[in-house]
Structures are given as C-alpha cells and as structure tokens.
Amino acid sequence: MNNPYPRSEEGKNILYSSFTERPKHLDPAQSYSSNEATFTGQIYEPPFQYHYLKRPYTLVPLTAAEMPTPIYLDAKGERLKETDPAEQVAFSVYEMKIRPGIRYQPHPAFAQDEQGRNLYHDLGPKELSKISILSDFTQTGSRELTADDYVYQIKRLAHPKIQSPIYGFMSEYIVGLKELAATLQQAQQKAGREAFLDLREYPLMGVEVVDRYTYRIKIIGKYPQFIYWLAMPFFAPVPHEADRFYSQPGLIEKNITLDWYPIGTGPYMLTVNNPNRQMVLERNPNFHGETYPSEGEPGDQAAGLLADAGKPLPFIDKVVFSLEKEDVPAWNKFLQGYYDASGISSDAFDKAVRISGTGDAELSDEMKEKGIRLVTSVETSTFYLGFNMLDPVVGGKSESARKLRQAIGIAVDEEESIAIFRNGRGIAMQSPIPPGIFGYTEGEAGINRYVYDWVNGRPQRKSIEVARQLLAEAGYPDGRDAKTGQPLVLNFDTTGTGPEAKAGFDWMRKQFEKLNIQLVIRNTDYNRFQDKMLKGTEQIFQWGWNADYPDPENFLFLLYGPNVKAGKGGENATNYENPEFDRLFEKMKNMENTPERKAIIDQMVEIIRRDAPWASGFHPKQFGLYHAWYRKAKPNLMANNTLKYARIDPALRARQRQAWNKPVWWPVALLVGVLVIGTLPAVATYRRKERGIPR
C-alpha cells in the first residue's frame, strides 16, 4: 500500500533513485554540476570516457575509434617532436576519429516527411497548440552521428545566448573561439535577439571537420590535460537539427528547450522530465552497443566485478529519479526498498554504520539483516582551511608568518573535526592531491612532516607543544605579540547558519584557543563572503575543490601564482605566490605521468607544506549503501556515465519489498474504536440535555 510506484512497474528491470535539487541545465554547453551530470552523462557521449574499473583513472574511446596522439606545432606551424620543450609548442592539434554507424536517439528534431523535409522545424500556432511536452510530438526520427555535430557543439560554447561556464577558460586555449564569440555576438544583434543562428555558417578557426567521421581541434600551446575535457559533456555532439528545432519561440515559451530535453547517442534518453517531481531515463533503442569491460585493476576479478565482462550494456531498462528534498523520507524509502541505493545523511548515520575501534566503518545489525552493502571511496576532492597570503598577519613570505601558519596547522585537529562533523567520513589531508590521483603518496613517505609524525604505522599529529614553540618563534609567545604584549586576534571569514554551523564555529574557536589565539568568527552571507574572497580581504577561510579530471595539475593549479583569486578571479583562493613553485608547476603540467613528474610533484608538495598557505584539510569519503539486489558496483568518481554498468535483480527486490511493507491495520481500527467509545459520554450528555434531565 505504501508503494510510491505504479503497480504496473512491479518486477520490471527498473532502477529507482532520487535527486535532491532540480538540475538547472541539461544543455551540454551549460551543464557543469555533478547533479546535472547524473543525467547528461547517460545521454550525451563525448569522444572519450573513463574506464569503469581501471585505476589510476584511464581514458578510453567512447564514440571515438581510438585515442588521439596530439601533434605539436611551433609558431611557424612546423611539426615538433613530442620530446621538444613545451615552450616551443605554439599549438597542439588533436584529431578525433569517431566510429561510423552511431545513431541518435529517436527525436522529433529529426522527423522528416517522405520528401525528406523536417516535419517540426517551422511549427505554426496550430501545431504548437497541441504541444505541451516533447512527447506530444507524434513523429520522431534519427540519423547517424557525424564529426560535424562535435564541431557544432564546440561553436555553441561561444554562442552569446548560451552562457557556457567554460567559455572564458576555453577561449584561452581553442584557437579562434574568442573571435567566433565576437562574430556571433554581432550576428545575433543584427538578426535580432530571438533569431536562430545556424552555427554551420560561422567558421571556427581552430576546429575543423576533416571528413564525415573526423574532426580536429587546435589549441594554443601545450595543454596535455585538454584530453580530459574531451571526456566531458561540454564536448559531446549536438546536431544542428536539434539547435534549429529548439530555437522556435513557440517551443521556448512552453519550456521545450535543449536545456530541458537533451538529445544524444548514449545508452539512455530522457523520456520524462518533470524536475519538480520525477525524471525518467529509458534505454535508447538506437544505442550503438557497448560491452562491460573485461579488464580492471588487481582484485576486481576476486571482487566479482568482472563477472559481467563482455555482456552488452546497459543492463537496466529504465531509471526513475524522484525528487526528494528532505533526508527523512528518502532514507525511509530506501529502508522500505523503494530506492535501490542511498547515501547516508548525518541523522541516519548512527542507525546505519558503526565505526569500529580501528576506525573502520561497518554496517549496523539492522542494515546487515536487510542484506544492505556498504561501499566507501575517498572522493577526488580537497577541502581546506586556507590563509589569505595577502593578509599582513597570517600571509606573506616572512619566516614569522610561515611559523604562525605552521603552528595553526598543527593546532587545528582535522581528525577530530572529521570524527565530530563528518561521522568519520573523510581522511585528513597530507597534500593537496587526494588519493587516486597521480602524485599522491601513500604511507610514511606521504605524510606532512611539518604537522605529523609517523607513529605505530600511522600519521600522528604533532603535540600542541610543538605548535606553541612555533608560535613563540613566530613572535607570539603564549598567543601574545612579543613586541606589544597584545593578544593575537585572528579572523575566520565564513558563511553558515543553523546549529551545525554554530557548533563548527565553536569548535574552530577552541582549536585556536589551544594556542591562546583569539579567533573572531566573521560570519556573513554567501554573497558577501564571495566578495571578500574576490577582493582578498578575508584572513582565514575554508574552501574546496572537486577534481575536473584526474591529474595533479588540477589540484596544484590551486596554488599557482597567476591563478590568484584576488583581483584576477582565479582558483588560487589563498593568493599564494611562490616563483619556485610556479616554475615547477609550469614544468610539471606538461609532463606525462613519469617518475620525473612525480619527483617534481614531490618538490612542489614540499614547498606547500613548508609555506603552509593551507593550514589543514581533508578529502571526503563517500559512503554508499546498496540493497542486496543491486549488483556489486565499483565507485568511479571521475566518470559520470556509470549507470550503464548498474544491474539489479528485480525478482529479489519485489520479494523483499513485499516482506518489508506489509500494511498494519489494527492500530487504525483501535483508533476508530477509541474515538467511537470516547464520543459515547458526549452523546449521552447531549441526549440528557435535550431531554432536559437535570444532572
């Protein structure tokens, strides 16, 4: 009775999941959030993807026939050798060959009449009056994916009406993107705000179609990480027919846009899009076919992760995502078997997981009885407590400021914070690079010697006495300025509301009190906080970064001098500048993952540890719960198209749901009985009153 899904879906090969916030954008040129990638990743197919099982993360072809080898050119256009210095590289050229025979999902944008004319590209008021949602179109069509579609999408990044978040960044690399943006801007102004611009008519200097299945991208300089961008939906194909179809004002007025109804070649297509309630992905009947990988990393075979090797993907026919804004109903539905997998909210953590004496997480008895599995993985993210290096007290390159930062780094007990505020879901940071990314060092060799000692086979935070000593050497013995005698007062710039934030502020204050430093919490709203960061007027703050791609460059660039945030809007939030670090960064970013590169990364990490622009930090740990009917899954934190590998046992799920959700009626009958009996005295009183019988 409490089943939220239609009876007709019982026993079917459908995966049930939830989402907490409606996606803002499903247009691959605009979408950049992970909650949007949950959908776009299954629909759009860029040329490359991450191997599902291999670690470290490895790119493999998706629609491409093979991985490209970049060609390097000097300023005169002469071809360079791969070994030539990066400074000589003026341009890099990537040539992508896509596989023939890949077809788009059925879509009205492709529907044609017998003469080959598009049926729905010039809709009149009469036709529009019958349309409310995309599925109201009765005819659909499809066509083969071509190189043109990839080039079309790259041009869309520069379209004035599409605010692509990566346009500014990509315009620094893709040859001619900036010029194309200016041309399109002028063309749009000339043609009118609502007019459709057919991007095929506007050439993009650095991107060309070589033949039906081949295209080239020319970028400025050497940027080896560019290949990772080609595995993101930003570089997925968009057919010009879709752009033309969705540009019709009559459809835009009905919210039928590419931003809302994606069109792709992937294993799934979005058939229901009511992001206020439910979004449904269904198997794309035109999917080109792909098989489950037959190789992975050591241990995958034993873990049963290769049991499906060679089997056709996707396994699931349909995926139903329901909007769940609150944790409580989402969690209860998971326990009732109405969601196949779940994260764990803080409120539910104690019911679901026990942390053993050794710090390992294991499921509670209730979860074990239900056959639920726990899968954990450290996210490719880093969250840190940073210092504004422009600040006269905590910033700067002086020995005194450096020791002050190091002292605070020891005092702020990140392990305690993880235990209290994250239920142990995280690991304390030893360097900006999280586990799973090249450059991360395990074990004793990987610890931050300025903050930790290696004791009994694990890192142990240095004692507070060491921090006090450093503080004294910094000129603040016992938390007072040695020259003036005034107490040291620092400011923590933050944004947060509610009891949890308050507890966090109190905890942070206590960490500084260990050194007798007075911490002032400058709590403000999100916008003011962002303004402070952009102006560089903050002092101490918390910040974070989720990896765009699995390369150390994507983390170490957070401390690269030219990327400072204050005044330039870059991602270096601490405004840290160190010429030696910058020099090593420029060398490292263009290298392959070799021992030489690792050695440079180690040097860079050592500089960061010594200068301590980041006091402390952590890499979050993801806890996922899976029901027994959900086949073993391997977390892949870089790939966003992993739904095709998911598999369930619908028969087992149906049995379990039935066993767990038998309705209980007797309390309702009891309640009705109590109410009836309870009214009897009132009825008697009424009758007495009516009859005028005195009490």
Binding site: M1, N2, P4, P6, R22, K24, H25, Y32, S33, P160, K161, Q163, S164, P165, I166, Y167, G168, F169, S171, I252, E253, K254, N255, T257, D259, W260, N274, N276, R277, S322, L323, E324, K325, E326, V328, P329, A330, N332, K333, L335, Q336, Y338, D525, N527, Q530, D531, G569, E571, N661, K662, P663, V664, W665, P667, V668, A682, T685, Y686, K689, E690
Partner: protein, 325 residues
Amino acid sequence: MTGYLIRRILYAIPILIGVNLLTFVLFFVVNTPDNMARMHLGMKRVNQEAIDKWKAEHGYDKPLLFNPAAEGAGKFTQTIFFEKSVKLFVFDFGRADDGREIGVDIRQRMWPSLAIAVPALIVGLLIDITLAMLVAFFRATYIDYWAVIVAVAMMSISSLFYIIGGQFLFSKVLRLVPISGYGSGLTAIKFIILPVVIGLVAGIGSGLRWYRTIFLEEIGKEYVRTARAKGLSELRVLFGHVLRNALIPILTGVVVLIPLLFLGSLLTESFFGIPGLGSYTIDAINSQDFAIVRAMVFLGSVLYIIGLILTDISYTIADPRVRLS
C-alpha cells in the same frame, strides 16, 4: 457594487507597484547582478567576461533604478527595475534566470498545491466548525474543558512534528501510504491522503479554539435565547441560527485564504515531495533567481488583494444588510 469594485481594483495598482519596488530593493540590497551571475554560472573557472555575458543576456547589465546615461524618460525606463517590472502588470512573468518560462511553471505547479490545499481547507473547515460547535454545545462541561486543553496542546506542537510523526506512523510503522511522492491524475490520491490528514490534524487545535470563541460569543446573544424559548432543538439552534450569524467572522478568515491556496505550503510540499508552488519561491531565493521571486511576490500580492475583495463580496451574501458602496 460595481463602482466599489472598480475603486478597489484601482487602489490595488499603487499597492502592487509599491510591493514590487520593495521586493526589488530588498532583493538587490543583498544580491548584486554579479552575485546572481556567479550563482548561475557556478564558482568554477568563471571569469568576469562570462559574468558580463550572463548579465547582458539576462538584462542585468543596466543600472538598478536610475540610468544617468540615458536621455529623458529613458533615465527611468532603461533600468533593471522598469524592464523587469512593467510586464508583470499584464501577467507576463517572463523567463526565470535559468531560461524557463515562469508562467508555464506556475500553471504546472499550482495544481499539486491545490490538490492538497483545497481538500485540507474544505474538510478542515467542516471538521473545525463541527467540533467547535459541539464544544460550544458542551460549554462549561468537562468535554469543553478537555477539548480546550487538547486544542491548546495541539496548537503548541510544531507542524514539522506532525509531518515527521505522521510519516513515521502511517508510512513507516503502519505502511499504509507512501511516505512521499506525487502522481498524476487519480494516482495522486494515495500521495495526498497523508499530507491532507496531517494538515487537518495540525489545524484542529487552532481552528477549534477560534471557532469556539466565535460561537460562544454568538450563543450568548438574545436571538439564541429566543430560539431556545421557541423549543428548537439545540442542534437546530446551533447549526440553523448560530452558524449563520457567525458567518461574517468565519468568512473574514476563510475567503481571504482561498486565492492564496494556489501558493501552496512550503513545509508540506518539501517533506512530501509535492511538486507545488510552495517551494518554488524558496528555491528561487536560494538560487538567487530574482525573476521568480519577483513574479511570486507579485502573484501573492494580487491573490491577497483578490481575497480581500472576495471577502467583501461574501459579506453581502452572508448578511443582506451589508452594502458595498
């Protein structure tokens, strides 16, 4: 009455302009167009060029209220305030900052809100009035005493408790209804039963006390004594005479609410996953979508004004002595 209504509608125009101006000023005191752009573009890799492009595309690249660079009336019309506000008066809400047509969203989302709010209002009114009438009938007895105590206790409990408690009891323990979700057509019924029941139970305390007070005041009047003296049964006195005469204060509280039912309930919709208008405004505030905030505040003001006018009209129906002039 026609003249009265026209006058009331004309009075509404400056009120709506004032509400719109106030919303605009309050919103932009805490959010700049740059903040809005950053919120929509995300924080990663966004440069000033992208922000400027977003503002130009969404019409936030002009001065807020006064444009000194423009000529003549353009000083006021070529501003964000004028360009974003003037169309509201013909109910053209325009597009949200994420590009969606607000009017379409409102039309879609008002039905789930109504599906919960209308039964909750009607059934709630019937239950509250009936219970209040019975308690008034048993005035000064132990039933009245206990009813008031229970009502006060029920009023004191947070609506969040009713929601979470109701979900726990009926969905988790008794497994009688889905804990959250929504369906289209008749399938929606199983999803709205629980929120409606919880809405009714949560409202009984305050409703009972409010209507009891009204009825007790009415019961003390002379026409009630006359009715009783004529030998009418107490039920007839209460439901035939007291209720009719108590309609004016009841209508004052109820009719004004009717148009606002469209706007839904934030908490209920959020916890039950109902895709109504209740959470639409809060979502918009969280995502700094001024277009939706402005549209919803404007719509709320219009509906409130309509509610007040309907209340006036309902007086003339409930009490023929009332004349609108």
